[in-house]
Amino acid sequence: MKRRFGLILAVLLAAALRGEVPSAIAIQGAHVVAVHGPELAHGTVLIRNGLIEAVGENVPVPGDAWVINGAGLTVYPGFIDALGTWGIPAPAPPAPGRAAGAGGTPPATAQPEPRVRGPEDRPQTYAYERAADLVSPSDSRLEAARAAGFTTSATFPNRGIIEGLGALVDLAGERGRDMVVAQPIGEQIIFRVGGGGFGRSFPASLMGNIAYVRQLYLDEANYREARQIYAKNPAGNRRPEYDHALEGLSEAPRILLPAQESQQIDRILRFGRELKVPFVVYGAHEGYRSIDELKQANVPVLVSLKWPEKPKNADPADIPNERDLEMRERAPEVPGLLAKSGIAFGFYSDGIESAPDLKKALKKAVDAGLTRPDAIKALTWNTAEIYGAADRLGSIEKGKIANLTVTRGEAFDDKSTVEYVIIDGKLFEPSKELQKPAPPTGPQGKPAEGEVN
């Protein structure tokens, strides 16, 4: 019996390594954390054709299914990164000799940055770009995400102030389009502040960023109204000018707005309400000061996993201010406090790109008071629900997309490992090597710059 199992497993692993897809997979006798539905101590999850076919304690395993012995394994719905760039390959490095002259000095003929004259020039606006068109399985970072147990990501193109339309993408597939689960899921807004307002292009200040976004949404409302009026009465009216950026905004079902500190959270809640668009707040590291306000606002929150830390190479003579110290100490408490208050929240990787670092960051939240079930719920059901996809993702239920994270031991335990991830019914065995913490002396889990497959 034991030998037979070993054999099956060996065949299975060989198949997994080659990326073959069996017609069905059954994980038998595992601890099943369904999230939405009963938790099973010894359950079976059967998947077929990329969907969950059955889950329960006494699910018969059909003859054609590959069987995984679930002893010692825990099966979770696939983890979802609530905001990331997974799947969008890093841009290719500039061709040698073009960006930099000999000896690394900039070429003498560098063109000055063209000056933006105002909101009408649509600075740093990529509202029309689609993550769904940009994702590709060739992104070399996907393996690290899977090694951390992530099967899915709310991926947004990370450039400009108006980032473009995000998509829920599965972190594996033959082609980019196979990865897309739902799109568009929203527009991400990043406030790009710098230069003190001097010398750079509009907008350079925070107030400039806010005014710009406000103007864009006014323009969008005006654009919609103008098109409607023109469609009814073209004669006697000048036709509204086509605006690519506004078309993108119109399509987004929600926007993601940044806020880290308490006064920023307060500001962004007001701003979001003013824009009259459904919105989500991301960041939230000082959320422990804003729980009541967030609760009252009834707005979902995406918590950054990049916890604030003492800056590397900080001058030992510098005395940090009390508020920063408190934020470094207390930021990981935020998820626990959000859960206790019943505020919908998810986690996002925020540039953390190695499996051990992601695990460590999640563990910090658990150590700071977030219960394990709430942590799992945040990583799965909550995030799916925030993006309106809880009907297909986020729990282990019949008929849902077969995205599963299978750990040996419980997630968040120091010694637990991610044994398998199943994405769209396809089995992956993430490398254990990728799950080991980097040696403290080396560069920590940083992928090579500009690496493209």
Binding site: P119, G197, F198, G199, S205, M207, N233, N237, P240, L325
Partner: protein
């Protein structure tokens, strides 16, 4: 436990909670003379009585002011305190679409430090990088409240203009401020600054007309496409309609006259001239326009256009009938504006009340809030500062600061809390250090 604390806090500290009686003190009303051994009673956030031997309602905070001095809360007509993410949007010649109200940071420690210097109201302005800067806002320094709760109720919003050297630096195309080469920004001369203002107001008038035409057509039953709402031109239309004040940064007398002419030509008013170091040369013209002047006490020569200056500026303009205030333009200076005011007695021989008016009732007049603050009079806000000595004395210290009758600063409390504060901070630092050691092998 936490909830109980919150309820207590709410009960004790609501905006206009407790009544306040300051007893037996020297009351510097600024507008109604000085009362020795006087009392001031504040109820529901407003001054209810000023006189002698007043009785306190039950539950009132009673403060013995014997040997001390009570003055109205200090008002700063030119501040950049509590602005988050940049004071300037200097990338365009006219950035009137940006609004300081959007970026008030109520957790900026300089608010508290201002309170420690008796400051209660600040006119928070956009910087001076461009000819027409951002929209501005008046705040009360209600430390601990949210940004919106700090807004001065009923105070008219403003807009910042700037003339001279700063706006004509073309957006600083090659200074240490800029990140890489940037295209130069118009304008590069004082003539250009004038033209930017004129052009923007011509645009604003056209914009006003477009909206009027649209509304007329709708009224006639037509279906026109509405004009685009333009956040840059809206505040300028408000200026034309008298709904928004202009606070104009300026130095030289020629450009001051230029601005007054442009304003007359376009049909709006300059509410205050800021800095206005050469105001003494054209004080009659300033008074005739009805503009206020908010200047520095005794500092100049920090740039070419600031050379032909005199510390008598405030006194001369005052004698010519201009409403003059002294401002800080600085997180540091805002903590001792009372001493800035004292300098007008040394330079120009103003009276005590005239000197105090420079940082109380005069800036209140300039901001159109003199019916609410700026002096100790019945009906005005309970914005008060208790000094241990006369506030025009170099050695005076602020003991307590109230806004709306609510205590926002108390010197003894501050001093007594420092040990505990330091202990908490050390604890956090030690914790972090210990955690770092655990990780490093």
């Amino acid at each position: 436990m936490r909830r109980a604390f919150l309820i207590l806090w709410a009960a004790a500290g609501s905006l206009f909670g407790q009544a306040l009686l300051v007893r037996n003190t020297t009351v510097l009303t600024v507008t109604k003379g000085t009362i020795t051994n006087g009392d001031v009673l504040v109820e529901n956030g407003r001054i209810a009585a000023v006189g002698k031997n007043l009785s306190a309602p039950s539950g009132a905070q009673i403060v013995d002011g014997t040997g001390k001095f009570l003055m109205p809360g200090i008002i700063d007509c030119h501040s950049h305190t509590a602005i988050e993410g940049g004071v300037n949007e200097g990338t365009v010649s006219d950035s009137s679409m940006v609004n300081i109200r959007d970026v008030i940071n109520p957790t900026d420690i300089n608010i508290y430090r201002g309170l420690a210097g008796g400051l209660t109201v600040s006119n928070v302005l956009h910087g001076s990088a461009n000819a027409i800067g951002g929209q501005t806002i008046v705040i009360k320094l209600r430390w601990g409240k949210t940004a919106e709760e700090m807004l001065f109720e009923g105070a008219k919003p403003g807009i910042k203009f700037a003339l001279g050297e700063n706006p004509k630096r073309q957006g600083y195309p090659s200074s240490f401020f800029s990140q890489g080469p940037a295209e130069r920004r118009y304008p590069g001369t004082r003539m250009g600054v004038e033209q930017v203002i004129r052009d923007s107001f011509i645009e604003a008038r056209n914009y006003q007309a477009d909206w009027k035409e649209y509304r007329d057509r709708v009224a006639r039953g037509e279906h026109p496409i509405p004009p685009r709402k333009d956040l840059r031109l809206e505040p300028l239309v408000e200026v034309l309609e008298g709904k928004r004040y202009v606070h104009a940064h300026c130095y030289r007398s020629d450009e001051i006259l230029m601005l007054l002419r442009v304003a007359d030509e376009m049909g709006f008013k300059i509410r205050t001239l800021q800095h206005v170091l050469e105001g003494y040369k054209v004080a009659d013209e300033i008074a005739r326009h009805g503009a206020g002047a908010s200047t520095f006490s005794d500092w100049w020569s920090y740039k070419i256009e600031a050379y032909d200056a005199t510390p008598y500026n405030a006194a001369i303009m005052t004698r010519k009938g201009v409403v003059v205030s002294l401002n800080s333009d600085s997180d540091e200076l805002q903590r001792h504006l009372n001493l800035e005011a004292a300098k007008t007695m040394r330079y120009g021989g103003l009276s005590e009340d005239e000197a105090l008016a420079m940082v109380t009732i005069n800036p209140a007049k300039q901001l159109g809030i003199d019916d609410k603050v700026g002096s100790i009079e019945v009906g005005k806000s309970g914005d008060l500062v208790l000094f241990d000595r006369h506030p025009l004395d170099n050695y005076s210290k602020v003991l307590k600061t109230w806004i709306d009758g609510h205590e926002y600063f108390d010197r003894d409390k501050d001093l007594s809390e420092r040990t505990e504060f330091a202990r908490k901070k050390k604890e956090l630092m030690d914790k972090e250090k210990a955690a770092a050691k655990e990780v490093t092998p």
